[in-house]
């Protein structure tokens, strides 16, 4: 029954011809959104003009997300860069009824359980923000500069596996992009192929 319902949903979704959404190119203005976070506050990209903003697409059930949270890798990055004044928004674009969709309470519980350090956890159940960014994976990462331009888009790191033991030997592209940006340099590797689970849109 459940599968049948899902299949129907899928067919409807596919036949309503979703607007093609390639990610906005690096160097262009980051699309704005206005969404509620898990604490009930409104979050927009524009309110953070003047600061670096990291967007991280999130799905707690995805093995690739678990790779980076289970190992503490993502929390460490969040902690390091929010301490340097970077705004970190985790965004959940899973549609209701699909994997990874969280209510505000569930999101807060997950944040406590995983000891996450992001600035805010943004809820995007109808996938509007996800689609406007062309977010395809969890985790799919964006770095936005103080002028509101995208300076990095792509994977979290260089090893596209769900295996936490690969983290130690991989290059963390987001860390490099932030370090280069904060040092006033241009990002050397500004666009990589994101990897992970697909974002569970409706």
């Amino acid at each position: 029954m459940k599968t049948k319902l899902f299949a129907t949903l899928l067919t409807i979704a596919a036949s309503t011809a979703l607007i093609a959404a390639d990610s906005p190119a690096v160097g262009t203005t980051a699309p704005d959104f206005s969404l509620t976070d898990s604490k009930g506050k409104t979050q927009t990209v524009s309110q953070y003009k003047g600061k670096y903003v990291v967007l991280e697409w999130f799905n707690p059930e995805c093995p690739f997300v678990k790779k980076h949270y289970g190992s503490g890798n993502m929390q460490k990055l969040q902690e390091e860069f929010t301490a340097k004044g970077v705004v970190w928004l985790s965004i959940d674009s899973s549609a209701p009824g699909l994997e990874g969709n969280l209510t505000a309470e569930q999101a807060n519980a997950k944040m406590t359980e995983w000891k996450t350090k992001q600035t805010a956890f943004v809820l995007d159940p109808d996938g509007k923000a996800g689609r406007s960014y062309g977010a395809k994976n969890t985790p799919h990462m964006f770095v936005i500069n103080p002028e509101g331009k995208i300076v990095y888009e792509g994977a979290i790191d260089s090893k596209a596996t769900p295996n936490p033991s690969d983290i130690a030997n991989s290059t963390n592209y987001v860390k490099v992009a932030l370090e280069e940006s904060l040092a006033g340099k241009t990002v050397s590797n500004a666009n990589t192929k994101p990897y992970g689970c697909s974002v569970k849109y409706k």
């Binding site: 390639d22 994997e99 596209a160 990589t192 192929k193 569970k200």
Partner: protein
């Protein structure tokens, strides 16, 4: 695994098969459980009942997915990761690349496109056991890991084993499933007559145009890209054009401006995504199987560069100029040591200046995205004309027709390499010797330069410095230790005769250059160049006869005017007009001695049919090539062996820098000609020969080609 009765097998091996079957059944593959269901069942299959030592066979990883779940293709698309197989094989075993059946293109909400497999897939790999296999049974073990997704994604893995008996012969096994999946593998790109593919880069988009009536007839066509790891591509779009054209547009999201082509497969059939589809594999390079550039550390390659530079001195094209320098040393023997050292250093500086200049030019061209190669300047006919003129002028100078003088040194008298050799003369001699050296890619230099051309600008520069140092080393030594010159004869009137003799050596070089021009532009080009050279000779004679210190300034003025008129006028008329109009010689007219002229299609077709092919990469200006051709490739024993083994002989003439040939040279990591490649047939890996051939070397390798596969 399915076991068929092996009639030829012994009782023991049959017993073993039963045991192996039991073991396989008792150790089921471990997948992953989700809501009580095993999502993926994995096992290994072989297409033979037994392993025959040295004889390749195919193994397959069979994945069974529960309905609606999928695993991924080698390029997963927007999400997911490809299935991986890590083999733990006994010593001496070789395993080929995974052969992936044509995947399904699956769309997920949010414009997410992935490439993968539903229900079942068999990933094929060729296994080659060692010929020396002695055991009675073998165990092939692999760890397979995959990501399986439906609404959610779950990674899984399994440690799998395949036990097989070893026997003198074997019969086919698992025929149905292997033949089913072999049919769903992409095929090699067809001959140019059936489908022609061209890539075009338009800003952030790569456009693949396939001209094929066969493809145009199918209602569904698509391109599944296989980009390199650092390339991000968008979703390809398909468009049907006029005249059997199908156009695929692939957005490129990464900033790499040099990316000009992608690997991938062109998929076509009655339906876009159902069974019964076919695919052609498109490699961004026309020839299969390229060998990688030899790995190695920089220091070793610099040493090769140094040795190669030293050997350049002995190359036939350099000898005339080098003899001039040695002559200079003879002349100065017994003179002031410091003077000898200075002249030697100036010569060495000339060598370095040329190599540094060449390195900088190559780096500039490389960063501009041009295909670069060694001796590329000789592929330009105007450069060859200029070289001919320079060689002739120097020869006339040696004959004593005129003396070279440079105005700013006029008070010091006559310069050049005659009675009083100046530093400037030595410097230009160094440059000249080196310019002539480049068309001979000496042994060692090929490997070293092949390595350098794939490296950064700094490495290229370092490499050229190493070559320059190698070439300059004997002169530096002789200049620093003139005592060693005591071994050579004392100066005397005999030197004038030797000088004239050297002039004839230069004339021989001139003949060679003219032959190069003839090969590039035909007989007409030789005639017009010779006319220009004749006018130039007259100008040189006028210089020697009338522009002398005793002549009045008026007659000198008139003479200079006439000389300039003669040189510029003949250059304008013969070179700018007649020579420029001479047509490039077409390659088709040059077929001789069973050699076919190279085209990418010819090579591709021959290889596709499993023929053994030998390709001679040559150029008219390459003396090493001519030497190899005359003494090895055209030698009786070698010709006979080529014939006996039924080898297709192809001559790839790089005289005019054919870009299709440049591409193949680069695939083999070689910067220039000569290059010799033997494709042993039946799609085996090509064999690359060293730059200097010997008959034995060729004959030995030819023995590896089994005659029965090569019969045409």
């Amino acid at each position: 695994m399915t076991v068929r009765a092996n009639v030829g097998g012994t009782f023991a091996s049959r017993l073993f098969l039963v045991a192996a079957l039991l073991v396989t059944m008792l150790c089921p593959a471990r997948g992953q459980k989700y809501e009580g269901r095993e999502l993926v069942q994995a096992k290994l299959l072989a297409d033979v009942t037994a392993v025959v030592p040295g004889k390749p066979f195919t193994v397959g990883l069979l994945l069974h997915m529960v309905p609606n779940w999928h695993t991924y293709w080698k390029f997963p698309g927007d999400a997911g990761i490809p299935t991986e197989i890590k083999w733990k094989l006994p010593d001496g075993w070789k395993v080929g690349e995974i052969q992936w059946p044509i995947p399904l293109k699956l769309d997920e909400p949010g414009d997410i496109q992935i490439y993968g497999y539903h229900d079942e897939v068999l990933l094929l790999q060729e296994m080659t056991p060692p010929a020396s296999l002695k055991d009675s049974t073998v165990q092939l073990a692999a760890e397979a890991s995959w990501l399986v997704c439906e609404k959610i994604c779950i990674p899984g893995n399994a440690n799998l084993k395949l036990d097989l008996p070893v026997a003198a012969q074997s019969t086919a096994s698992n025929e149905e499933i292997f033949s089913r999946y072999r049919r769903s593998l992409p095929q090699d790109w067809p001959a140019a007559g059936i489908a022609r593919a061209t890539w075009q880069r338009q800003a952030t988009e790569l456009r693949l145009t396939v001209e094929s009536a066969a493809l145009a007839n199918y209602p569904a066509a698509d391109f599944f890209p296989v980009p390199e790891a650092n390339v991000v591509v968008g979703h390809p779009k398909v468009e049907r054009g006029a005249g059997g054209q199908t156009i695929f547009q692939v957005p490129i999201e990464t900033a790499d401006k040099n990316l000009a082509a992608l690997n991938g497969i062109v998929v076509f059939g009655q339906n876009a995504n159902g069974p019964g589809r076919n695919a052609w594999a498109l490699e961004s390079t026309p020839v299969i199987a390229s060998t990688a550039v030899l790995p190695g550390n920089l220091a070793r390659f610099l040493l090769f560069g140094f040795i190669g530079g030293f050997i350049l001195n002995l190359m036939p094209c350099v000898l005339p100029v080098i003899s001039l320098k040695i002559f200079g040393f003879i002349q100065h023997a017994g003179q002031d040591r410091r003077r000898i050292l200075r002249s030697g250093l100036a010569f060495v500086a000339g060598i370095f200046a040329w190599f540094i200049g060449l390195a900088l030019l190559l780096i500039a061209l490389k960063s501009a995205g041009r295909e670069i190669t060694w001796a590329f300047q000789f592929t330009n006919p105007y450069f060859v004309v200029l070289m001919s003129a320079v060689v002739l002028v120097f020869a006339l100078n040696l004959f004593g027709v005129f003396e070279i003088s440079l105005p700013q040194f006029a008070n010091r008298g006559v310069l050049g390499w005659t009675a009083q050799e100046g530093d400037a003369g030595s410097f230009f001699q160094g440059v000249f010797a080196t310019v002539l050296a480049t068309p001979c890619t000496a042994p060692f230099l090929g490997t070293a330069l092949g390595f350098a051309f794939t490296q950064s600008g700094w490495t290229i520069l370092l490499m050229f410095l190493a070559i320059a140092a190698g070439m300059a080393s004997p002169y530096l030594l002789l200049s620093a230790q003139p005592a060693w010159l005591r071994l050579v004869p004392k100066p005397g009137p005999w030197m004038l005769r030797v000088k004239q003799l050297m002039g004839f050596l230069l004339l021989a070089t001139l003949l060679f250059l003219l032959a190069v021009l003839g090969a590039e532009r035909g007989v007409e080009a030789i005639v017009w160049t010779s006319c220009f050279l004749l006018a130039l000779s007259v100008a040189c004679w006028m210089k020697g006869a009338f522009i002398v210190p005793t002549a009045s300034s008026g007659s000198r003025f008139v003479s200079i005017g006439l000389m300039l008129l003669l040189v510029l006028g003949s250059a304008w008329y013969f070179i700018g007009g007649k020579f420029a109009a001479a047509k490039t010689v077409s390659a088709e007219t040059q077929t001789q001695g069973g050699w076919q002229p190279f085209t990418p299609q010819l090579l591709e077709n021959e290889l596709k049919q499993g023929h053994a092919v030998f390709v001679d990469f040559t150029a008219a200006w390459c003396l090493t090539c001519k030497f190899n051709e005359a003494n090895v490739l055209e030698a009786g024993a070698v010709r006979e062996a080529f014939e006996r083994h039924g080898i297709t002989k192809i001559k790839a003439d790089w005289t005019n820098a054919d870009p299709a040939i440049t591409k193949i040279l680069k695939q083999f990591g070689r910067p220039g000609v000569p290059m010799y490649v033997l494709y042993p047939g039946n799609h085996a890996e090509p064999i690359l020969f060293p730059e200097l051939l010997t008959q034995n070397l060729i004959l030995e390798k030819l023995e590896t080609v089994s005659p029965n596969v090569a019969v045409k």
